[in-house]
């Protein structure tokens, strides 16, 4: 995966954190208790874990793992 693609993915994820479209909304209460803004950010946290899992699989800096000899 190119560096540009990774940067775009991270930029989109960062942009999604600024959820101005839910700014003044409290309803619906998800599961009857969680205001939508709080639910969104909880779901965002899970989505972040998924994106990081993908990045770790396809963009891992494996060159850093090469056997090292102390200089």
């Amino acid at each position: 995966m190119t560096r540009v693609a990774i940067a775009v993915i991270l930029a989109v994820l960062y942009g999604l954190h600024q959820d101005f479209w839910l700014w003044r909304e409290a309803r619906p209460l998800v599961f009857g208790v969680l205001p939508i803004g709080l639910f969104y950010h909880a779901a965002y946290t899970v989505a972040t874990a998924v994106v990081l899992w993908v990045l770790v699989r396809i963009a891992w800096p494996s060159h850093l793992e090469e056997p090292v000899t102390r200089a």
């Binding site: 700014w23 209460l29 208790v33 205001p35 803004g37 709080l38 990081l52 891992w60 800096p61 102390r70």
Partner: protein, 542 residues
């Protein structure tokens, strides 16, 4: 009495874990074993301990207190932004720090900076700024320990004894256990945090008769409905908070912790699970803090709600003293303690006491980091190790741990906590503004030591300026702002109730942006002072 007993038993257990439980028989004694656990930590301890190192008393107490006053926005401000920025910084920066540490034996960020930019005394300047920004955390932890033991014992353990006891326990296991002991204690404490959140939600929910009714009644009241959305917070303020987690990797104790993993692959689980750990700890803390606004059958919480209503109704008509008094009464830092006291059985309240102790004892990593920095960046750099040997270096590190904790304890006994609460707020912004140093060192060949110095001096000056403004200009009522610097008709710098603002942003934003700009501009102007090709090849092979 039961609570005090459980907390004291917890302190004894932590001391045992830190000193004896995981001492490695195979490990060679020496500086690397003491300061970075021989770079041999396994994946589970690395994840739990790194996460625990990042969690402070704020994660349980402060988060619910902030949510009690400000509502659900707390989670977006502090948890979901950290859940993205911290693991990404571990992926991009932490892994590179690990590799450089493994290859060249670095134990502190300043060692790496000195090597990368071929500088000596500029590294010392960076060390001083880092150390000054870190010390308030240690003092706050001593104060937190004293206050917590005093509270859970119903006043039987005085503040000086509680603070002294916590200091003694932390000093003992950091002294004997070094990084390995500290890491295992942190891992244990993280497990405790993770368990606590779910249990507390279940018990408080049962006590309040479920949360649905509480949420519906909050929505029906004009006073509490805004707490369930973000209408009281400006989008610029919200955006500003995403800069704060940049501080994490720039904190020396986190950067040093990145050096302790045995293998690079240990970072994988840490990076992926970090957001989920944030969710598991912060969602219950924030949700319980918000729901506490309807727990008015608990007298202590009812008093807080009344004080807040009085503060809002009085507005600018209140005197500064009355506002300050009401702010203290309405403060929600102990709201989760009060909730559990009100709804939980004694055994859970006792466990909570232990969890709170775990939170306030998170200073162990900072103490060890300062000791590592002192011995590596000052003692060794200025010839101490060459003259006196490695054994003396470790002894110096241990002596520094004792001295630092003793000083923190004495300061904690004599100074008001509010000073250090403020200082830790500045420290977050300060470390975020230092993050361009790491990015430039690792990713930009063209960066120079003079660029690093400019960023560091700017950070120190900016933190000092914010501190002076916030302590000399009294906070106005919520919603108002005191202009400090006006250009044309625009108030560029203002003092708001929440602190200093710059063009609607928190100071951390201009501090970090200007720090990055200074790094770029000053490095470009001093391009002739770039390190030798051999040095650059270490950092940018190929």
């Amino acid at each position: 009495m039961v609570q005090t007993g459980v907390v004291l038993a917890y302190l004894a257990l932590v001391m045992y874990l830190g000193i004896f439980a995981f001492r490695s028989r195979r490990a060679a004694p020496g500086a690397e074993e003491y300061f970075v656990a021989g770079r041999k930590l396994g994946p589970a301890v690395f994840l739990l301990s790194l996460f625990g190192t990042n969690m402070t008393a704020f994660s349980i107490l402060g988060a619910s207190g902030h949510a009690f006053a400000n509502g659900i926005v707390t989670y977006g401000l502090m948890a979901s932004s950290s859940a993205l920025v911290i693991p990404v910084s571990l992926l991009l920066i932490g892994t590179r720090l690990w590799a450089l540490g493994k290859r060249h034996g670095f134990m502190t960020p300043v060692q790496m900076f000195r090597d990368r930019w071929e500088c000596g005394h500029i590294g010392t300047v960076i060390f001083v700024v880092q150390a000054v920004l870190l010390v308030p955390y240690i003092i706050i932890a001593v104060m937190g320990g004293g206050t917590t033991l005093h509270t859970v014992s119903g006043g039987r353990v005085p503040f000086w004894l509680g603070g002294g006891l916590v200091s003694l326990v932390v000093t003992t296991y950091v002294f004997f256990g070094g990084m390995r002991g500290t890491a295992w204690v942190n891992a244990f404490q993280t497990v405790l945090f993770l368990l606590f959140g779910a249990i507390a939600v279940a018990v408080v929910s049962a006590g309040m008769g479920g949360f649905s009714t509480a949420m519906e009644s909050m929505l029906a009241s004009p006073a509490t409905a805004p707490l369930l959305s973000r209408e009281r917070i400006s989008p610029l303020y919200f955006l500003s908070y995403t800069f704060i987690p940049l501080s994490s990797i720039a904190f020396p104790h986190i950067a040093i912790f990145c050096l302790t993993a045995e293998r690079l692959s240990h970072f994988k689980k840490t990076i992926v699970f970090y957001p989920l750990c944030m969710l598991a700890i912060w969602l219950p803390s924030v949700f319980l803090g918000v729901a506490a606004n309807r727990a008015t059958d608990v007298p202590a919480i009812a008093a807080k709600v009344e004080a807040r209503a009085e503060l809002a109704a009085g507005g600018p008509a209140l005197s500064q003293d009355a506002r300050d008094r009401l702010r203290v009464q309405a403060a929600g830092d102990d709201v989760i303690l009060r909730l559990v006291e009100g709804y939980a059985p004694l055994w859970l309240a006792a466990l909570l006491g232990a969890a709170v102790m775990a939170a306030v004892m998170a200073s162990d990593s900072q103490i060890l980091a300062l000791s590592t920095m002192f011995t590596e960046d000052v003692f060794t750099f200025y010839g101490g190790r060459r003259r006196f040997g490695e054994a003396m270096q470790v002894r110096t590190g241990r002596a520094f741990v004792v001295l630092l904790t003793a000083i923190a304890y004495l300061v904690a006994l004599r100074m008001p906590q509010s000073i250090f609460d403020l200082a830790t707020q500045y420290a977050f912004a300060g470390y975020a503004a230092l993050s361009p140093l790491l990015v430039a060192a690792l990713f930009w060949r063209g960066s120079t030591k003079w660029g690093a110095l400019a960023s560091t001096v700017w950070t120190a000056a900016a933190v000092a300026f914010v501190a002076v403004v916030q302590t000399t200009v009294a906070p106005p009522p919520p919603g108002a702002g005191v202009p400090i610097l006006t250009i044309g008709d625009i108030d560029v710098v203002t003092r708001a109730a929440a602190g200093m603002m710059v063009a609607g942003f928190l100071p951390v934003v201009p501090m970090t942006v200007i720090s990055a700009l200074l790094m770029v501009v000053v490095s470009a102007l001093t391009a002739r002072t770039q390190p030798a090709k051999d040095t650059l090849a270490k950092y940018f092979p190929g």
